[in-house]
Structure formats: structure tokens, C-alpha cells
């Protein structure tokens, strides 16, 4: 078997030269195309944190960070030229882990080095890194600022043990009660609203989006009529009572729950999984009726519905396709309401599983194997019973051989029986 493309991580680590040598050797023996990739560490979080705690990186700082990566790439190019292999270089604004993982999908082999913690940060340029860190300190301290500064200054060098601070922080946060995270989210949300990036259809994998027909040709050049937002787990994309502001969201990855605020905590009123839309119920309304809370780290396209803005926004989505989508949403909402006429928890749960299965099938995924991104208590709130009841019914389903449930992976083993159950004709 021959490798067509080999990806090699380019940075300033002391063992980088050995890494390039190995990659060149492999490439020469197999007539492979070699791709050197450098990650600047300036991922979206970095911008977001910087905004959350005040100010953006100055262009000079960003320039210095980019130059630093460019140096690493020049080093790689020198090696590749000496070995006489076909090669190219790539630089992306992302942290090492997610950037490499993403690019590895388009390569046959990736060459990395082991971590050498003692030797790592490899002396970032005094001017660039120092300036960035100083900037972050000026920005007002706090955890977020330290992350932004730390990432910008030292992180690009870390190969091998690839764990950016954001990830570590996420892990640590997992133990916290959800409520604290939700309370915290209004602040995150405020930052989110600004930390957005224009979407360029050639860079954002738009051709793969099943809703691309809605956006195509709605804006000049390669831009499409939207922006991309990243929403952390438990954070709110929008909250009930907030102004709608002509916004519509298309979920690119992840999932959300729609929560109706109520006296004793919220009532879960629906789930939206990628690639569904959010905000279809609020066009022209003054405020949102539900809060949209991310069930996992998610990404959405944010489409602004502003007729008076620049030409491209005049018709942000193809109209008839939008109407079809809205009509679809009406039917879905109607169905969800009808489902609640069933009185038994088993009936409602079976109906929920079947409707998730239908959605999965319509989106081209398996109708039998589902992922349940929502917690048991979310399900309980959605079908209007207690969490214990959901667990009990799930257990009953499992023992009856209707489903198999492993953590959040649900397999429907006997769909006809579930249909029967949903219709109330059989007792589980």
C-alpha cells in the first residue's frame, strides 16, 4: 500500500528537524506528496476569550504569531527541498489538537513527535509572544484572559501531548452542576454574539451542508449569508425573552434543547439536532419564547434576516425553500403536540424514539442506531414525567428486548413493537 499524502506537523520544537527528516524519508521512498502544516493557536476560542475580557489581539500581535508559524514552515520547506520531494505548506488558525485532527482526515499518514515537556515551548519570539501575553494581561486578567495569552504565546509549540487549555478546562468543568454552568452562560452568550466569523463557502465546507441550496448565491463573492458561532455545552444560544433581532440559526454540529422558563426550573419543549434549524418559530416575533441550550459543544450558522442591510442580505435564504422548511416545522410542532395526548410514559417515550429515528432517517443517517445527546431528566421534562420514571421505562424496554442502550447510544431492536407500543395497542 502506498501513501499518497503525508501530513507533518511543523513547529519550533527541538525535535522538529528529526520529524521532518523522517517524513521526507517516507515521502521519498513512496513518491508521496508531503504537506507541512503549522497551527498558529489562534482558534475561535482565542478570539472569543479576548472579546469576553476586553479587546481583540492587535494586528501587530497577530502578525507576530503568524510570522512565528511561517518560520517553522520555512524550516520544513528547506528540509523538503533538500530531500527533493513534492511538498506544500499550510498554515491554519487553530489549536494544534483540533487543527491536526481535522487535517489528518485528508491525509494518509500524519507524522508527529513525542512530547518533550522540559524542552517544549521552544522559545516563542520575545516580541510576539510577549506582546500577546501582555495584551491578555491588560485585557483584565481572569481565567479566560490567561487562556488567550497562554495559547497565543506558548501553545503552538506543543506537539505530541496535544491538549490545549480550553480542552482541559472543559474536562474540569464537567463535574460542575449543570445549573451553575447555565447561570454562567449569559455572560458567555454576550461574548458569543460578537465572536463570530464570516463564512466563506469554500472554506467552511458549505458544499456539504444539506441546507446549502438555501444560502447559495445569496451574497456576493464566496461569502454566504451567514456567520458561524460556536456554543459550548450548557451555554445558551439565545434565551427566552431576548429580542429575536431577525436571527435564524442552522445547526452545523451538535444539538440543543428548547427550554420554556417556568417557576420550578424550565420545561424542555423540544430538541433540535444538527442539521435542523433554530428560531423558525420566532420570525417576526419580538422575543424568543424558548431558550436554546446546547446539549454538547455545538456549532451553528447564524443567518441574519435583515432586508435593509447590504444587497446579499436582502434575501438571505431562497424563499420558497424557506417556506417549505417552515411548513415542515409546523407539521413537526403539530406532531409533537399530538404526541402528548398519549397518557402513558411508555407510549410517549416510544413515540420520542420513533420520531428521533424518523429525523435521523430523513437526514440520511441510520434509523436504527441513534445517539441521545440529552440527559434522562431532559427526556423526562420533555415527555412530562419524572426522571425516575424515564429510567424505569427505559429499563422495561431493554428487558423486553425493544432497545439496547449503552450510555447515550440507543439501538432500536424492534421497531414494529415500538410502533405498537406508541399506538397504545400493546403494553410493554
Amino acid at each position: 500500500m502506498s501513501y499518497k499524502t503525508i501530513l507533518v506537523h511543523a513547529d519550533h520544537a527541538p525535535n522538529a528537524a528529526a520529524r521532518y527528516e523522517l517524513a521526507c524519508l517516507l515521502a521519498a521512498s513512496q513518491e508521496t506528496h508531503l504537506v507541512g502544516t503549522a497551527l498558529t493557536g489562534l482558534n475561535l476560542d482565542c478570539y472569543r476569550d479576548a472579546i469576553a475580557y476586553g479587546g481583540m489581539l492587535s494586528p501587530q500581535d497577530a502578525q507576530a504569531i503568524h510570522d512565528y508559524s511561517r518560520e517553522a514552515l520555512a524550516e520544513f520547506t528547506a528540509h523538503a527541498q533538500r530531500a527533493g520531494v513534492s511538498h506544500e505548506v499550510r498554515m491554519s488558525d487553530d489549536d494544534a489538537e483540533s487543527g491536526l485532527v481535522l487535517q489528518a482526515r485528508y491525509a494518509d499518514l500524519m507524522v508527529l513527535s513525542q512530547s518533550e515537556p522540559a524542552a517544549v515551548p521552544g522559545a516563542p519570539p520575545a516580541q510576539g509572544g510577549g506582546a500577546a501575553a501582555g495584551h491578555a494581561r491588560r485585557a483584565g486578567g481572569g481565567r479566560g484572559a490567561a487562556v488567550a495569552g497562554g495559547r497565543a504565546a506558548g501553545r503552538p509549540a506543543g506537539d505530541g501531548r496535544l491538549r490545549p487549555p480550553a480542552l482541559a478546562r472543559n474536562r474540569a468543568g464537567r463535574g460542575h452542576p449543570a445549573r451553575a454552568a447555565i447561570d454562567d452562560s449569559s455572560r458567555i452568550h454576550g461574548a458569543l454574539k460578537k465572536a463570530v466569523m464570516a463564512i466563506q463557502s469554500d472554506r467552511s465546507n458549505c458544499e456539504r451542508c444539506i441546507h446549502f441550496h438555501l444560502c447559495r448565491d445569496t451574497a456576493p463573492h464566496d461569502q454566504v449569508a451567514g456567520r458561524r458561532l460556536r456554543v459550548r455545552r450548557h451555554a445558551a444560544l439565545y434565551r427566552a425573552g431576548e429580542a429575536v433581532g431577525n436571527s435564524l440559526y442552522s445547526i452545523r454540529s451538535g444539538s440543543f434543547k428548547l427550554v420554556l422558563p417556568q417557576a420550578g426550573g424550565g420545561q424542555v419543549n423540544g430538541f433540535a439536532l444538527a442539521p435542523q434549524f433554530l428560531g423558525l418559530n420566532a420570525l417576526g416575533a419580538a422575543t424568543h419564547m424558548f431558550s436554546a441550550i446546547a446539549l454538547e459543544d455545538s456549532e451553528v450558522c447564524w443567518i441574519t434576516w435583515d432586508r435593509h442591510a447590504i444587497r446579499g442580505r436582502r434575501q438571505p435564504l431562497q424563499r420558497s425553500a424557506l417556506y417549505a422548511m417552515l411548513a415542515d416545522e409546523i407539521r413537526r410542532a403539530e406532531q409533537a403536540a399530538l404526541q402528548l395526548h398519549h397518557t402513558q410514559a411508555g407510549q410517549r417515550l416510544a413515540e420520542l424514539m420513533l420520531s428521533l429515528s424518523r429525523t435521523n432517517r430523513d437526514n440520511g443517517y441510520s434509523p436504527v442506531r441513534l445517539r441521545l445527546p440529552m440527559s434522562r431528566s431532559d427526556i423526562a421534562s420533555y415527555i412530562g414525567v419524572s426522571a425516575e420514571c424515564v429510567s424505569r421505562v427505559l429499563d422495561r424496554f431493554r428487558r423486553a428486548g425493544l432497545v439496547e442502550l449503552c450510555r447515550r447510544e440507543l439501538t432500536l431492536l424492534d421497531q414494529p413493537a415500538l410502533q405498537q407500543l406508541a399506538s397504545g395497542k400493546a403494553a410493554a
Binding site: 420545561q267 423558525l280 418559530n281 436582502r314 411548513a327 397518557t343 406508541a422
Partner: protein
Amino acid sequence: MMQVRYCPQPGIPRCEACPLRSLCLDHGPPDAPLPQVCQEQRCVQLATGEHLFRLADPVDHMVYIIRSGYLKQYQHGRDGCQHIVDFPGPGAWVGLESLFQPQRRTGAIALCDCEVVIVPFSRLSILLDRQPQAADIFGHLLSGAVAQHQKHAAMLRGGTALQRIAQFLLERAALAPPGVSRAALPMSRQDIGDYLGLTASTVSRWMSELRRRGWLTLGQRGFSLPDRDAVGLLAAGVPLTSPLAGG
């Protein structure tokens, strides 16, 4: 049989009674030629109990707007019972959910004598293409229908029988024209029960309890809420203290 006749009717000034008034900006002089969307409007009269369309009817690419009267839109549950989706009233658009679909997913029956305007969707889209503002309003209309079903689901999901009934009464009362205290209640107790996921007897019991307390006045196919605040509290989940608590 449904009687179909052309609309606008002779004798009524142009645009005066047009159901597309909110959408359309073509308020031309009275003698100007009528746009096509107006020329192709039809009007049907439905008697009580007559179907506007039935479940699984092929979709005829028409949009219906109620001029007067009330319909009930129903679907059959998996268990064969009737579930009410909505009670559209004057001014409501019916059948929007079936746009771009081969078959009707709901049936619609007149609850009283109704007058319904029929507009071909193809004509409507020409209007929408010409007027961006109309397109926006139509989008809002569809979006509002989504929100309304979600509200209905929220009502079914939480709350006791009494809470649902109180919410339902408040919702209907809010539909009455401003300044009029009496709101229409053209549907039977059974229909209300099928809308709220309750039995007809539960609906009757709680409504007579509300009436006994003087919070609800029932009349011929209509009602009013003399003490709206008390009903509002019930809708928010404040329990009713004696003597029928738990009933």
C-alpha cells in the same frame, strides 16, 4: 355541497374585505384593474359539520383564509381517537402546513356556518415575489403557526387539568376583538377535551366549578371571564382552594 362563488363580491368596495389586505400593498384607485390574485379568489360557504378538506385528501395548492366562523382541525391519534390540532377563527390561514406536501395531514370541519376564502398558492407566490415586505409577513405567518403549536404542546406537557382549562379560556378570550368582553366558544366540551388531552366530563366539571365561583359566565356559544385575574392565577398553577380541590 360547498357553494363556490367569485370574490370580491360586487357592492363591497375593493380591498375592503380582502383577506390579503395585510399582505398586499396594491391599494390602487377603485377603478384600476384588479391584480390577478384578487381575480382568482374564491369564496366558499360551509354549513356546520361540513368538511373544508379531509384527512389524506390530495393537496390542491390552495391556501384558505377564514372570513367568518370557526373550524376545527383534527387528526386521528394512533389509538383512533380524535385529537384536535387547532380551532382556527376569523382571519386565520388554514392548511399552511400542507404546502409542498402531497397529502393533507389534518382534516378541517366547520363548527358553525363559515365563509372561507380560497387563494391559489401560485398566485400568492407571484404577489410575494413582487413585494419583499409581503414575503416577510408571510414568513412571519408560517413562523407564528410553529410557535402556536409549540405553545399548545407546552400547555399539554405541564400542568393539571384545571391549569390547561384556565389557559385555554384565557387564550380564547384574548382572541375576542378589543373592547368586547364576550368571546366565542363554538366548540363542544368534547372538542375542548380533545384539544387539551382531557375527557369531556373533566372539562365540564371544572368549567361549572369556575362558573359557580363567578369567574366564568357561559352563554350561547360564548363566554366571558368577569374575574380574569383569578383565572390567570389558576393558569399559572396556583391551586384552587376548596371545596372542589382534587376533583
